[in-house]
Symmetry: C2
Subunit: 757 residues, 2 copies
């Protein structure tokens, strides 16, 4: 694809895109100033907020130190992998680092402001009322949103400006860096937040009999830090990665299908998204007659979506020609490229809306599914679990069918040409993500109001109507969080589907170059690119790909359990060695628990992380390129279903608990409440640890496969090399899994007996 | 494949196989006589056993009436589908009925003797001691085992004798009939048994305060009937189906790869299995120095496996030539067919042993995984659920990797030829199933001893050491049941993988015949058979295939919940209208509850059943043959993982409860016990309803796809026909899903509040 030549006009447009991306960062700066200018409440509130800020920075320090090893090592390894031209190869490594850096910055920025916005939201609820509180919360989220789109778009535009026709290979590096860092932040953050949550509850509420969010509990700050670490930093990095990888896929395929205009148009769509996101974020200004906070958010979301749709149509008609023959490069198909582009982007925008409605139906408190889960609490926790599992399985299917429908729509737009079809899939992905700025803002909204509520309760300075305001904001945040997860996994499936095009191109080029030895090893049937799953060895790849998703989920759920046990031990120890904590004469060492959770989260994420990086290498070298392709397909299918299953089961249990707490079936303290609390606890690692990490997992495996594909084809004839790589990689994987199981046994401190909450 | 010509010697051997199959039925007759000759205990015991027998026959009556509709309708529909020659087409329909009939007879026979063996086992435990009790229990299971192998082998041999070279198409009908009936019996039996179980507990133990298995509870008999309906009839039909479909795959591929000798050898392997199963069953005669019942069972299993391995090797050397060139038909590969055949069968036998060990590790009470689940009960039910889910997910991966390893081993034996590789996969499947006679006997052992224990408790006539004997037998039964499920899903994956060969052959023939219109619609890329999953439309098939497994599981779990609610209403009503029940002056109407469960199970199985039959039709006609092939691959991957996940999570929870009941963590009545009871209740529909039904689900979808494949290819150019079929099929599916959700709302009788057991 090196033949795509960008003209002067094209480069000017790409420069424009880069400038607009930087403007998004300027908007973020403005939002930061606005949020920081708000009042910070009472000294007690500020003191608690400071502890959370300390904890968050302790976490980030450690997180970046661990991940730094990978960010240094992997670019060196990337240099060893074949690619055309030394310059491109170096560029790929450099942009890997940049992708990781941008992903980290997005997470950092989102979290940095979230731990400052939280106390200001609490103060506003106390001093200025609901509408101001909500505005601050949403503007806080807006910063993460602007960083996501600004840095993602800027990075992609920069690659195109510098590398032009060679951009695709360099973009793979950029996307891989972003996805890898996001996966670590998602898994690490997810383990941290749930370990702290469960650990704090077990010692504080159960053993010491002190309330939730009591400042005497050394794990309480960690619990509040966790909300930011998981839901802010992890989520922001994750959506940045979704955005970046989607752009990578669109740029690669845009060049192949539409030539130079395809690459530029792939940047114009998200550029429009940046502008409409700004409009959307500022549109979320609550009005007096809004029914709930969700009304204002929906106004912003659907406004941004509608303007995007119109603007994309206008851009397509202004910029794209009416026939494929007039394009600079790309394929020749008898269709109107403008209609293909508009249709694809609209498909994505409609998909975003459909997922929002579907997720809402299955997880909102006032709809039938959550009501049924709530009613099942009459017969105890077992029926709560069963109904939640059944709901999750069913909703995952509908969500997956929606995504499949969008892919099929895009496929039909391809008019029989696979390259055009795949570009249409990628464009649908960019369409889905035009609203990502608003979505990230919506999602960050959740932990910020959750934290605001925590600070309010801990300080005791926010009461009455102000506390009720924060309760309502928190409920809105729960809904937006579930929706974001649905959108995120849809981007993963679309990006992965589109990247099959790059995988094919890469493998085909390598097959042409392969030596006679390699060709004989690949076999005649597979010298034409072919991932036909009726071949037993290809089907094995599929089985392994689906297996990785199951193993990854199981490992993440187990890690939370182990880590929570260690939090219990640490907090107990602090109560023992600092007897003054209970009468407030000594301050617990919050940093120690935060550091423990951080260290644990880092250690626990190694095994799932290695799984993501190494399994494609093992499959590729052991079985060949076709099983590796099927491996990706298996991971996509199992991943889409598992991610939505985990997210929606968890969301439904959480909200069933809320319904009971609002007074149904006896309210707080009833047997039904105890049953739904159990459901919610089961759902915690489902929806906040394992489920959301599947999105970056799929991307990482995809990009690793793409990067190693040429090496896999070249090594086909070298049985010794293949066996060697396979044995080393499998040995490392087995050691990692065994080590993580062993950790469980070694630190198995006896946990306290749970009593009814 | 019509060109395979069986010579006179071949036909003589096949006749021999048929005779030996009939001898297996004669052995079954001998076992029946032996079991029935045993003593039946006290009059009270006999009265209870009679009630269970009445219930079982009430269930069977209804089950066969419902399923009868399908058994009449589908053969007529099959006549409409294209196939070479009217005789073959009629034969396919006739053998569909025969497959269904044999499947039904196997289930019926297994259950008929189980409901008579149960009381005799209880009586033997009371009057004759452990060894006699165990022998009767195992001989009772042996009848189901002998029926499974006898009827399966006889049916397959009959098809070959009558249709010779045309056998493959007719065999598809035979396999489809067997699989469809088995699926209905598995789903129906699974819903019945868990609805009765949960319903009986909720009214009896919770509301009325009467013990489990109290004869005053109208649902108690249904509960005991359920054990037989689910674990005997459903399981026997399921394993018969596995056996029959595996033979179908082996015969089809054997003809293609090895010519006439391939077909005959595919029958010789299971014939050897029949003989060794008889040896194995009679070898399970407990000895005085056996450590536990499991020792005797292992002796039978591994003896049968070892003799099979040796005998198969001898048969291969006696019957097969040393080069492919000497075979009557088949392909020409530079390898020794005898070594290929022996290697493949051994792979299957080793896989059976490996699954047995792996399943044992993850579900036995004295191994680390179940111990960890048990320890998690210290922190309450939520951690029990989480650790069980994590264990299930992880073990599913190892099991799937073992199966994948076996497929890869068989693939390598194919020496680069796909047809030989697929035949090797099928032969591995027959190897796996050489021990099926022993396995079915092992599995039936479970419900028989479970029932024996129930009858003993209800009658109050079996106490002390005799009761302890039955406890021990029940524990052995739990282990064997888990192993059987692992083996069953392995056969599903191997059979489905092998049947891809038939799918390919069928589609290729249809592609050649396709008209110009159809060819244009299929497109140049797909005129060569190709299921390459990088194509977006093919990938969609994969997504839908994996989705069906998730939806099917979710629907089955929901159905159990709904049905249990209706049992509660019925039993309450009987207590109200027959006040004499409580003082034993009136007899509850057991048949009404049994009939209700049966009727409900039949109604609830319609939706999952339609899902299995109609989804492949929708995918095939809407998207084409390649997405249909990928659909099967997606279902295989998701199905293998989901089936083992559900079975092993459920098995581990069940045994964690047993560990606590044996005195750990405070024993019965402790908080830890309550936590594990909740885990066990969640596990019930996992392991006994949704999980085991996935095996026949995969087969049914596979065979439906195979049968409609020619029609799908022929219809490629006819957009109106395709749209019409798709719309009708999807409408029926949506209506079925909506109706099953609506049923839940309409009969949502308020359930009682659960209290701690």
């Amino acid at each position: 694809m090196g033949e795509v030549a960008l003209g002067g006009g094209d480069l000017f447009l790409v420069s424009m895109v880069a400038v607009i991306a930087l403007l998004a960062l300027a908007v973020a700066g403005g939002l930061v100033r606005e949020v920081l200018a708000a009042g910070q409440g009472t000294p007690r509130m500020q003191q608690i907020a400071l502890a959370v800020q300390e904890g968050a920075s302790a976490y980030l320090k450690r997180q970046f130190r661990t991940v730094g090893v990978f960010v240094v090592l992997i670019p060196l390894l990337l240099l060893l992998l074949p690619a055309e031209g030394a310059g491109v190869r170096i560029g790929r490594s450099v942009f890997f680092v940049l992708g990781a850096l941008f992903s980290g910055i997005t997470g950092f920025a989102g979290m940095w402001l979230a731990v400052r916005g939280n106390v200001r939201v609490a103060a506003a609820a106390r001093d200025a009322g609901e509408r101001t509180a909500m505005r601050i919360a949403f503007r806080t989220g807006g910063v993460a949103g602007m960083f996501t789109v600004g840095l993602g778009l800027f990075g992609a535009a920069l690659v195109v400006l510098v590398y032009r026709g060679d951009a695709p290979v360099v973009l793979e590096g950029f996307g891989f860096g972003a996805a890898l860092l996001a996966m670590f932040m998602r898994v690490g953050g997810g383990i941290f937040t749930k370990a702290a949550d469960v650990g704090a509850d077990l010692v504080g509420k159960v053993e010491q009999g002190i309330p939730e969010d009591d400042p005497r509990n050394a794990a309480t700050i960690a619990d509040n830090v966790g909300d930011n670490v998981g839901d802010c930093a992890g989520m922001a990095a994750d959506l940045f990665e979704s955005y970046a990888v989607m752009l990578v896929a669109a740029l690669i395929l845009g060049g192949a299908a539409f030539g130079a205009q395809g690459m530029v148009f792939s940047l114009l769509v998200p550029m429009i998204g940046v502008v409409t996101a700004v409009i959307g974020i500022f549109a979320v200004t609550p009005r007096a007659r809004d029914r709930s906070g969700m009304t204002a958010i929906n106004r912003g979301f659907f406004l941004a979506a509608a303007i995007s749709a119109v603007a994309v149509a206008v851009a397509a008609f202004l910029y794209l020609p009416s026939t494929f023959a007039e394009l600079d490069g790309g394929v020749r198909v008898d269709a109107d490229p403008r209609l293909v582009a508009i249709g694809a982007v609209l498909t994505g925008i409609v998909l975003a809306g459909a997922i929002q409605l579907l997720t809402g139906y299955f997880t909102e408190t006032n709809r039938k599914p959550v009501q049924e889960v709530t009613q099942s609490a009459r017969t105890g926790p077992a029926t709560v679990i069963l109904s939640g599992v059944a709901l999750g399985l069913e909703s995952a299917v509908y969500s997956t069918l929606l995504i499949a429908g969008a892919i099929y729509g895009a496929f039909l737009l391809g008019s029989g040409n696979t390259t055009v079809a795949l570009f249409a899939v990628a464009l649908a992905g960019t369409g889905l993500l035009t609203t990502v700025g608003v979505i990230v803002s919506m999602d960050t909204f959740g932990p910020v109001s959750d934290n605001a509520q925590g600070i309010a309760e801990m300080s005791g300075d926010v009461n009455g109507e102000a506390a009720a305001v924060l309760e309502r904001l928190d409920a809105v945040g729960n809904t937006t969080k579930a929706i974001t997860k649905g959108i995120a996994i849809a981007t993963a499936v679309l990006a992965a589907t589109a990247l099959f095009g790059s995988f094919r191109t890469t493998v085909e080029a390598a097959l042409e170059e392969a030596s006679g030895d390699a060709q004989r090893a690949i076999g005649a049937a597979f010298l034409d690119f072919n991932l036909s799953v009726d071949q037993p060895n290809v089907l094995i790849g599929l089985l392994v790909g689906a297996s990785v998703v199951f193993l990854f989920s199981g490992l993440a759920i187990m890690a939370v359990g182990r880590s929570a046990g260690r939090v219990v031990v640490e907090v107990r120890e602090q109560f023992r060695t600092k007897p003054g904590i209970m009468d407030f004469s000594e301050r617990p060492d919050y940093d120690r628990v935060v550091d423990l959770c951080t260290r644990d989260a880092q250690r626990e994420l190694i095994t799932p992380g290695l799984l993501a990086i190494l399994t494609p290498i093992a499959v590729g070298f052991a079985f060949g390129y076709a099983p590796l392709g099927a491996f990706l397909a298996g991971a996509i299918a199992a991943g889409a279903l598992m991610a939505v299953f985990l997210a929606n089961s968890g969301g439904a249990w959480d909200n069933a608990k809320k319904v009971v707490e609002d007074g149904s079936l006896g309210g707080k303290g009833s047997e039904a409440h105890a049953a739904t609390v159990i459901g919610d606890t089961v759902g915690d690692p489902f929806k906040d640890t394992a489920g959301p990490a599947i999105n970056p997992l799929i991307k990482v495996m995809n990009l690793v496969s793409l990067l190693i594909a040429p090496a896999v084809v070249a090594a086909a004839g070298d049985a010794v090399l293949r066996a060697g790589v396979t044995i080393v990689v499998v040995a490392v994987l087995v050691a990692a899994v065994v080590a993580s199981r062993h950790r469980g046994a070694a630190t198995g401190a006896p946990l306290p007996r749970a009593t009814r909450r």
